[in-house]
Amino acid sequence: MSTQGDVRPGVRSRVQRTWLLIGGLLVLGIVYPLIVDSLKSLPLIGDFVPRTDSMVTILIGVMMALGLNMVVGYAGLLDLGYVAFYAAGAYTAGWLASQQFSQVTVHFGSTVSPDLSGIHLSMWLILILAGVFTTIVGILIGLPTLRLRGDYLAIVTLGFGEIVPQFVRNADSIKGFDLTNGTFGIAPIDSLGIGGFVFREQSNKQDLYYWTAIGLLLLTIFASVRLRDSRLGRAWIAIREDETAAAAMGVPLMRTKTWAYAMGAFIGGVAGAFLASFRAGAFPADFYFNFSIFLLCMVVLGGMGSIWGVLVGGLILGYLNIEGLATIGSKVQQGGLDFDPTKYQFGIYGVIIVLMMLFRPTGLIPERRHKIEVAEGVHDTPFYDVQLEGTLTDRDQSDD
C-alpha cells in the first residue's frame, strides 16, 4: 500500500495525464452531436460513426451496465435478470406519463396539454420515482434469494427476468383491468421537457436526449466511484472476496447484499424510464432474457468491478449491438460474402464471454483488487450455511 503523502513526480504526471484524458473525452462526448455530421463524412471510417440517436441508446446501455456492475462486479452476486429492472423502470414511466389510465386525469408538472386524460407527471420526477419503484422491486426479489448461495441467486434472478416480461405481456386484463396493455405495450409516453420547452417537439430532439443521457451517465459514474470507496462499497468487496471473513468482521451479510441489489435496481429503473421516454413507449418485446446477458457481457468484457472497464466494454458492445454489426455486415456483403453478423450477435457475445473468462478473466481494464483475487484465488465457499443453521458445508478445511 502506498501512502498518500509520498507522491513522486512520475506519479503526479500520470495522474495529470489521466485527468487530461478524462477531460478530453468528456469534451468530445459533449460536443459529439455537433460534430457527428462532419465525422460521418470522413473517408473510410465515416460509415462506422454512430448516429446521435443510436448514441443515446448506447449510453443508457452503459448506464445499466454500470448498475449491473455494482451487483456483479462489486458484491459478486451474479444477476441474470437485470432486464426486469429495465422493464420495471420503463413501465413506471408508462403508468405515470401516458394515457394508459385514461379513467383518471392527473397532471403534475407535465409538458403535455392539461386536457389529456390519464396520469401525466413531470418526466424528471418520474425518473426518480421509477428508480424508487424499481428499488422496491429489487429488494422484494432480493429478500428471499440473497441468503442463498451465489449460483441459486443466478437462477432465481434469471427466473424473475423471465417472469417480468411474461407478466407485462399477459397483464392486460387482470380481473378486467388493463395494467400493461399486453403485447402492444404502452405508447406514447410523454417527452422530457422544461416548462413549455418539450424535447420531442424540437428539431434536434435526439441531441437534447443525448445530453441528458450524458448527464445521467456522469451521475452514475460519480455514484459508482463514491459508492465503491464508501463503507458500503468496501463491505461489498469484502463479501465478494470472502463471505465468511466479512461476516466475522461484522459485515451484516443480508443487509449489505440487499443494498447492492437495491443500488443496481435503482440505476436500472432510472435508465429504463429514460429510455421509455426517449423511445416514446414501453414495449414487452424489448424485455427479453438476452438483454440481461448482453449487459453482463459488457461488464465481463470491460472488467468486473472496474468502472472505466465497464464504460469501455459497454461502449464497444453497445455500438456493435446498435449499429456496428449491421454496418460491418453490410460491408461484408458488399464484399460479396453472404454472412449476416446481426443474426448471430448473441453467438458472438457468447464467444466474447468465454474467451474473456478463459484468457483475460479480469477484463480489458482490470480492477486492481479483482486482479489480485483472480491471481491468488479466493476461498469464497461459505463454510457456514446461513440457510441451514448449524450445518457445515463442503468448505475445504485446509483452506482456512
Binding site: D151, V156, M357, P361
Partner: protein, 339 residues
C-alpha cells in the same frame, strides 16, 4: 439440522400453501376423475423428458457445484441432429414398417449418444476445466457464454424454423380403461426413459466408475488421495450428462417440434426440477421433473387455473417458493451421498 424442531413461521406458511393446493387438486379429481387422470398422464410423459435433462444438470452440479447452463442447448442440438438423421439420412416416415422404425431409432441413438457425450466432454475440457480453481462466478459466467455459442451453432445449421419428424409412432390408443387413454407415442416415451434410468442407476450404484463419481462429489480431495482419477471422473460425468441429453433430445422430438432455442426454456424447466428434487440428488431430479411436468399439465388442462399463458411464471414461482421454503429441495438432505 435436527429431525424434530418447532415449526417456524416460514414452514407454517409453506404448509398452508401446500394444503390449499392439495384441496384444490382433490376437488378437481372428484369433479372429473378421467380427465384429471388423462391430463396427469400427459404431465408424467413430459416429466419423464424433463427428468432426463434434469439428471444432466444434477450430475454435473453434484460433482463441480456448477450450473451447466449450456446443458439445455446441448439437448436441443442433439434433438435437431437426430431429426436430420431420421428424416434425411434414414428417410423414415409413417409408411415404414415397425421393425425398420425401431432399428432406425436405435441406430439414431447409437450415433447421437456418443457424439453428444463427446461434445459435452469437450465443452468441459475447453471451457470449464481451466477455471476449476477460479472464483466461483467465473465458470458460471462461462457456462452462460457456452450456452449462447451452442444455441447459435444450432441457429447457423438449422435456421429459425421448427424441425420435426413424421408421426411414425401412432397417436392411437395403446391402453384404454373406460375414459382413461394412454396413446402409443406416450407409451414409447416411457419405453425409452425407464430402461435409461435403470441403466443409469446401475452405473452409478454398482460400477467402479459410478462409485468414483459418488466419491468425488462427496469430497474431491479425499477421493484423489484414495487414488481416484478426479479429472477422468469429471469427464465421465460430462459424457454421461451428454448421453442423457441425446436420449432426451430424441424422446422430445418424438413428441414435439424443436428449434434452436427450445433448449433454453426446457433447460430452465429441467433445472427447476433438479432444484425442486434437491440438486445433486439423482432420484430427486427425476421426482422433481415428474412434479413439474404434472404442475404444467394440470395448469394447462384443468379449469380455474391461470392457463398456458402463465406456465413459465408458474414454474419459476415454484422455483422461488422452493428456495424460500425448502432450499435443500424435497430429497435434498441425502445429498451428496445419495445415488
Amino acid at each position: 439440522m435436527t429431525r424434530l424442531r418447532s415449526l417456524s413461521l416460514i414452514d407454517a406458511i409453506g404448509l398452508v400453501l401446500l394444503a390449499v393446493l392439495a384441496l384444490y387438486l382433490a376437488k378437481e379429481f372428484v369433479g372429473d376423475p378421467s380427465r384429471f387422470i388423462n391430463v396427469s398422464i400427459i404431465g408424467l410423459t413430459n416429466g419423464a423428458i424433463y427428468g432426463l435433462v434434469a439428471l444432466g444438470y444434477t450430475l454435473v452440479y453434484g460433482i463441480l457445484q456448477l450450473i451447466n447452463f449450456a446443458h439445455g442447448d446441448v439437448f436441443a442440438l442433439s434433438g435437431l441432429v437426430a431429426s436430420t438423421i431420421i428424416v434425411s439420412v434414414f428417410g423414415l416416415d409413417e409408411s415404414t414398417g415397425v421393425l425398420v422404425i425401431l432399428v432406425g431409432l436405435a441406430a439414431t441413438l447409437a450415433i447421437t449418444i456418443p457424439a453428444f457425450a463427446l461434445l459435452n466432454g469437450s465443452i468441459e475440457r475447453v471451457a470449464y476445466k481451466p477455471l476449476r480453481h477460479a472464483p466461483r462466478l467465473a465458470p458460471l459466467i462461462t457456462a452462460v457464454g457456452v450456452s449462447f455459442v451452442i444455441q447459435n451453432v444450432s441457429l447457423a445449421i438449422y435456421g429459425v424454423d421448427f424441425e420435426s419428424v413424421p408421426n411414425f409412432i401412432p397417436r392411437t390408443d395403446a391402453i384404454r380403461i373406460g375414459d382413461i387413454v394412454i396413446p402409443w407415442n406416450k407409451l414409447a416415451v416411457f419405453a425409452i426413459v425407464i430402461p435409461v434410468l435403470l441403466i443409469l442407476t446401475w452405473f452409478v450404484r454398482s460400477t467402479r466408475q459410478g462409485k468414483a463419481m459418488r466419491a468425488v462429489s462427496q469430497d474431491t480431495e479425499a477421493s484423489a488421495m484414495m487414488g481416484i482419477d478426479v479429472n477422468r471422473t469429471i469427464s465421465v460425468t460430462f459424457f454421461l450428462a451428454g448421453a442423457l441429453a441425446a436420449v432426451a433430445g430424441l424422446v422430445y422430438l418424438l413428441q414435439f417440434n424443436m428449434r434452436y432455442d427450445t433448449g433454453f426454456e426446457l433447460g430452465l424447466i429441467a433445472f427447476t426440477a433438479a432444484v425442486l428434487g434437491g440438486i445433486g440428488n439423482l432420484t430427486g431430479a427425476v421426482l422433481g421433473a415428474f412434479i413439474i411436468g404434472l404442475v404444467q399439465a394440470l395448469n394447462e388442462g384443468l379449469d380455474g387455473t391461470p392457463g398456458s399463458d402463465w406456465t413459465r411464471s408458474l414454474v419459476f414461482g415454484i422455483l422461488i417458493a422452493i428456495l424460500v421454503f425448502r432450499p435443500q429441495g424435497i430429497l435434498g438432505e441425502q445429498t451428496p451421498e445419495g445415488a
